[in-house]
């Protein structure tokens, strides 16, 4: 009986100390992980900061203006190009066109240029035109 108790106690001590050692190692390992993660986070934060600065640098208005002037045919917005939602004409759906979208019918092969494709806009609203187009149009006229 007494021996049994002793053996049980010894076993308990062994198990508990093993458990504690395991726990301690686990904690140390996790602590190490945490440190690496924190270091990683700090590093990434610094990198994000650099990227933000770079983003702001690449997007400085001066740069964008040069790029826009080089690649886009955009000009200053003229007053007639500004409209509000209520100024827009409501969309008119042609019943024939609507039926076309449901029933496929044979059509012309798509051509690169259609004759007289430029239709005049409805109502008071004028479409914005690129300078180049307008010039070529004027030249033709």
């Amino acid at each position: 009986m007494r021996w049994n108790l002793t053996i049980v106690l010894v076993l308990i001590v062994a198990v508990v100390s093993y458990g504690l050692y395991q726990l301690s190692y686990e904690v140390q390992r996790l602590g190490g992980d945490l440190r690496t993660l924190r270091a990683g986070i700090a590093e990434n934060r610094a990198a994000v900061q650099v990227l933000k600065a770079e983003w702001a640098y690449e997007n400085r208005p001066e740069n964008l203006q040069t790029l826009a002037a080089k690649h886009l045919p955009l000009l200053l917005v003229a007053p007639y190009q500004v409209a509000e939602m209520q100024d827009l004409p409501s969309r008119v759906t042609d019943p024939f066109a609507a039926s076309l979208s449901v029933v496929p019918v044979p059509r012309f092969r798509p051509r690169r240029k259609k004759n007289g494709s430029e239709t005049s806009p409805r109502g008071q609203l004028h479409m914005a035109k690129y300078e180049g187009q307008r010039r070529s149009g004027e030249a033709v006229e």
Binding site: K52, A53, A56, P61, V77, P79, V82
Partner: protein, 598 residues
């Protein structure tokens, strides 16, 4: 018995004695332990000692156990939190030992802090200074070899070789492998937008201390020095507006070969400065490479005699105090002579002019007479209400106080009425014009973004009716008067030209002008004040040699407003439509005799 005697006499060690007692008791359970004499005494002493030591140890263990239980019960989770928290604070502190960022009103990064590496040397550990210097200068070509040698052979144990290396340089220096050369992590302030808003943001020195602009004004808040909370600053400046302003000013400054320029865009309802530029400017990333005069902020620190733009205030005052009405006028046939001083017109009409005519043709004579009829005392009080006589309050360290005349009598009132004799900064002028056009409320200027609830009413300086009339007058100047080149189709620009001769060494120089144009748009409900100024513009062929504000600065405003309107969401109106015309209608009451010959 012999066992007891043996123990009692021979050994004094407690544990042995106890053991033997136990054993003997086991061996002889029936008999009670019986001790006598000195043996008993010694045994008692040993037992006492044992008990004392035991109690002491037990106490210690109980304390430890109690602490353990206490921690286990109350503190374990918390303890963990505390460590995480303190660490995160620490990491935050190391992060925000770095200065906080500065943003524009829409969140564009204007100033930030980046981690960099600096290289320093410990000369006591350098083996061969000349060889080391040769190696170092092969990587850092901007350093001179001689200075590096002298640094490396000094007796100190710390010398900076170069601050803020690029990663590439760091790698190269590292691979040189010079003993006694070390790196230190540092932080560098970086301004991604370069010179765009240089005067607003300011700059920092090599130790990241703010020494100009917002960087200096909010130094404590940005750096967290003196225990203040580290918080980023959000400016009212809009990067797009700022760019448009700087771009146009730069363009026209080079067209008219001016020595300087300044500009300002301000929200008249909130007092927020959307753009503020002063040219020539500098790159805050490397301020030491620019001459010190580029760091002078003409928009806030510079005070100038603004010229005819002041007629706006004189006219507003005269109309507000009801000392004249629109129908009244003054004779502007001949120049006025006061105290040896001659007041003449730049655009002489040589006839009687009504109040609207005086304003749109910018008649000095008429304005001087108008101000004289009011008197110096009320004139001074009115300008003080508009904040033109006190140092303005704005969140910047570089703020210039106005230069007032030594005495303010009738003559001074007459000259100040058309903008000579009183020097104010563009900031003051823009704020005052904002107060005139926004319905008559003076709102303090700010360069910090205001939230909805921050917007205050301001204090009334003129009646709403007067503000409305002056607005129409300003519109008339652009429609028919001296500022016709400032028109921007659709945005109902109104404004006033100002051409002033620069005072150099106490005398006015006729060939050095300071031209300015102050405007607001859209005039039926003004939202923004736009101010532009050129310092010493020269005429060219496109202006037929003229250098006045109507020729040199009004076009800036026109271009600028055409660019700003869509950016700021101002809806263009048809200026020819009847409703707009009616809104902007003002009778001129001209007595001009139409010649019958044509």
């Amino acid at each position: 018995m012999s066992a007891y005697s043996y123990h009692a006499s021979g050994r004094r060690e407690g544990s042995g004695a106890r053991e033997s007692i136990v054993i003997s008791a086991q061996n002889d359970p029936g008999r009670a332990i019986h001790l006598e004499g000195s043996a008993k005494e010694t045994l008692e002493q040993g037992r006492n000692r044992l008990v004392v030591a035991g109690v002491l140890f037990a106490f210690c263990f109980v304390v430890l156990a109690g602490r353990l239980v206490g921690l286990a019960l109350s503190g374990l989770g918390q303890e963990k939190d505390v460590t995480v928290y303190s660490r995160s604070i620490q990491s935050k502190a190391t992060l925000s030992a770095s200065r906080a960022d500065i943003y524009d009103r829409s969140g564009v990064l204007m100033a930030t802090t980046l981690d960099t590496v600096s290289v320093f040397a410990d000369p006591t550990r350098i083996l061969d200074p000349i060889d080391a210097a040769k190696k170092m200068t092969s990587v850092l070509q901007d350093l001179s070899q001689a200075s590096v040698v002298s640094k490396l052979s000094s007796k100190r144990n710390f010398v900076w070789l170069k601050r803020h290396l690029t990663p590439k340089q760091q790698k190269q220096i590292n691979s040189l492998g010079i003993p006694g050369v070390f790196f230190r992590k540092e932080e560098k302030r970086f301004y991604p937008l370069g010179p765009l808003a240089a005067h607003v943001i300011g700059y920092t020195d090599v130790d990241n201390k703010g020494i100009a602009g917002v960087e200096r004004y909010f130094d404590e808040g940005l750096s967290g020095r003196n225990g203040s909370k580290v918080a980023p600053v959000k400016l009212s400046v809009d990067v797009r507006v700022q760019h448009a302003l700087r771009d146009e000013l730069t363009r026209f400054m080079s067209i008219f070969r001016a020595v300087g320029a300044a500009g300002m865009v301000m929200d008249v309802k909130t007092g927020e400065v959307l753009g503020m530029a002063s040219l020539p400017d500098f790159d805050p990333n490397r301020p030491q490479d620019f001459p010190s005069k580029t760091k002078f902020n003409r928009a806030t620190l510079g005070v100038y005699e603004m010229g005819s733009t002041f007629k706006t205030f004189t006219t507003a005052m005269a109309l507000d105090t009801r000392s004249v009405s629109l129908k009244d006028g003054f004779d502007a046939t001949k120049p006025i002579r006061v105290a040896g001083f001659r007041i003449r017109d730049d655009h002489p009409k040589k006839r009687w002019l009504s109040v609207p005519e005086i304003y749109i043709y910018s008649s000095n004579i008429g304005t001087a007479k108008m101000a004289d009829s009011i008197g110096p005392k009320r004139h001074k009080a009115f300008l003080r209400k508009l904040g033109l006589l006190d140092k303005p309050v704005i969140e910047m360290p570089e703020v210039g106080a106005p230069l007032l005349p030594l005495r303010w009598n009738s003559l001074e009132t007459m000259t100040i009425s058309y903008g000579h004799g009183l020097s104010v900064s563009p900031l003051q002028l823009s704020t005052a014009v904002g107060a005139i056009v926004n319905g008559g409320m003076y709102i303090k200027p700010t360069i910090l973004k205001k939230s909805k609830e921050d917007i205050s009413e301001g204090k009334r300086v003129i009646r709403k009716k007067t503000s409305d009339t002056v607005r129409r007058l300003m519109r008339l100047v652009v429609e028919k008067g001296t500022g016709s080149k400032a028109a921007a189709e659709g945005y109902l620009v109104g404004g006033k030209t100002g051409t002033a001769e620069k005072a150099v060494n106490g005398r006015y120089k006729r060939d050095a002008l300071l031209t300015s144009f102050v405007s607001a748009f859209p005039m039926n409900n003004p939202r923004y004040v736009v101010f532009a100024m050129l310092d010493e513009p020269k005429g060219n062929a496109s202006t037929h040699g003229f250098r006045g504000a109507g020729w040199t600065t009004a076009p800036i405003v026109s271009r600028l407003i055409t660019r700003l309107g869509p950016l700021l969401g101002v809806k263009p109106v048809d200026e020819e439509s009847e409703t707009v015309k009616a809104e902007m209608y003002i009778p001129v009451y001209s007595r001009e005799k139409k010649l019958a010959t044509y």
